[in-house]
Symmetry: C2
Subunit: 235 residues, 2 copies
Amino acid sequence: MNLLLLEQADFIAADRVVLRDRRLVHMQDVHRAAVGDRLRVGRIDGLMGNAELLRLEAGEAELQISLDQPPPAKLPLTLLLALPRPKMLRRVLQTVAAMGVPRLVLVNSYRVEKSFWQTPFLEPEAIREQLILGLEQARDTVLPEIIIEKRFKPFVEDRLPALTQGTLGLIGHPGNYPPCPRGLDEPVTLAIGPEGGWIPYEVDLLANAGLQPVQLGARILRVETAVTALLARLF
Amino acid sequence: MNLLLLEQADFIAADRVVLRDRRLVHMQDVHRAAVGDRLRVGRIDGLMGNAELLRLEAGEAELQISLDQPPPAKLPLTLLLALPRPKMLRRVLQTVAAMGVPRLVLVNSYRVEKSFWQTPFLEPEAIREQLILGLEQARDTVLPEIIIEKRFKPFVEDRLPALTQGTLGLIGHPGNYPPCPRGLDEPVTLAIGPEGGWIPYEVDLLANAGLQPVQLGARILRVETAVTALLARLF
């Protein structure tokens, strides 16, 4: 945790918060914080700044807050991701938040196992928990927007073209395709497939919606690694 | 597992192997392989190719092997990494093997907890297990060289200059430094610090050995994510 993220409900005054949950435990056990210490804090979807620890008791801590810095810029990106297996999903959500992706669409694909859609990690509170871990890691305050699309074809045919409009549309896909471009400034819509990749029919539908395949070389990467590698190369 | 990796001991003839371990279980449970099926295989530190499943019984499988393709090229890189916490170490070893790093030096740092050096995950067999998982994922056969350096100063002063010679030396380090370069062809020596980063004294010693700090932006990334992001950007 490189940034202590504050929720609306933590505030007892405009510049005071009281913490009682895992963040208190983290301050005590990891930071070994003491009264008078200063910590980096941020308000969810708001500014970042500093806090002074005013009071630390067994069950709660009170901090005085000064928020004056904007969070870091997000990437100009919509990321479209075939739903990963549950354990990978949690890590990918953290990575997406940490890397500065502003909008993630989790979509079905032929090679997504049906059982993956049943995971409790897709509940809004579970998603939010992982996103917050990613924001705390990277020092950001703004939660990415997560869109869940359980049906591939209606999403890609009816809604994806509007998301893609005015952006460079790319599919990260192993094969004999042009190499993934580097160091872009323009907005991008990027689709990353499931383990085993999109099937040709899906690549065709994505291409009809304006996305073109690009490749990163012969190595097959895990989804989490592919997300990080593609974003680091694109921006 | 996108490539079935074969050990010397698996071979019962020049073109025949018998498998009995987790690879047999994986073929049965994940691939649901049947006699006559063809699989991608590779020989550790050797060529890649195809196998035909000749015989499948409860406790063993026999395959006929044809190896004719070279493994993918490695990156022109020596990666120097402050020893991560044990759980992260395992994932980083997989990532390093999957991304094509040919040589990894695990080194001590002021911010590496002493207990990390006690982990059984640093045993040669445990390291090899994770590297093989990474190679199987990415479809590569060549094990990276792993060097363990428990003392920072003697390593950086006495042995690092020889490793760095003729390469571009870089330290991935958050701060007011030049941005990490993109799309290099030349050989690189890259140092990535622990959680919390190298201390200034360590950066000074690394600089004396020929490594200069570069940054990836304001976001603080987990070690595994930073490794992937830096490699994807550099090459």
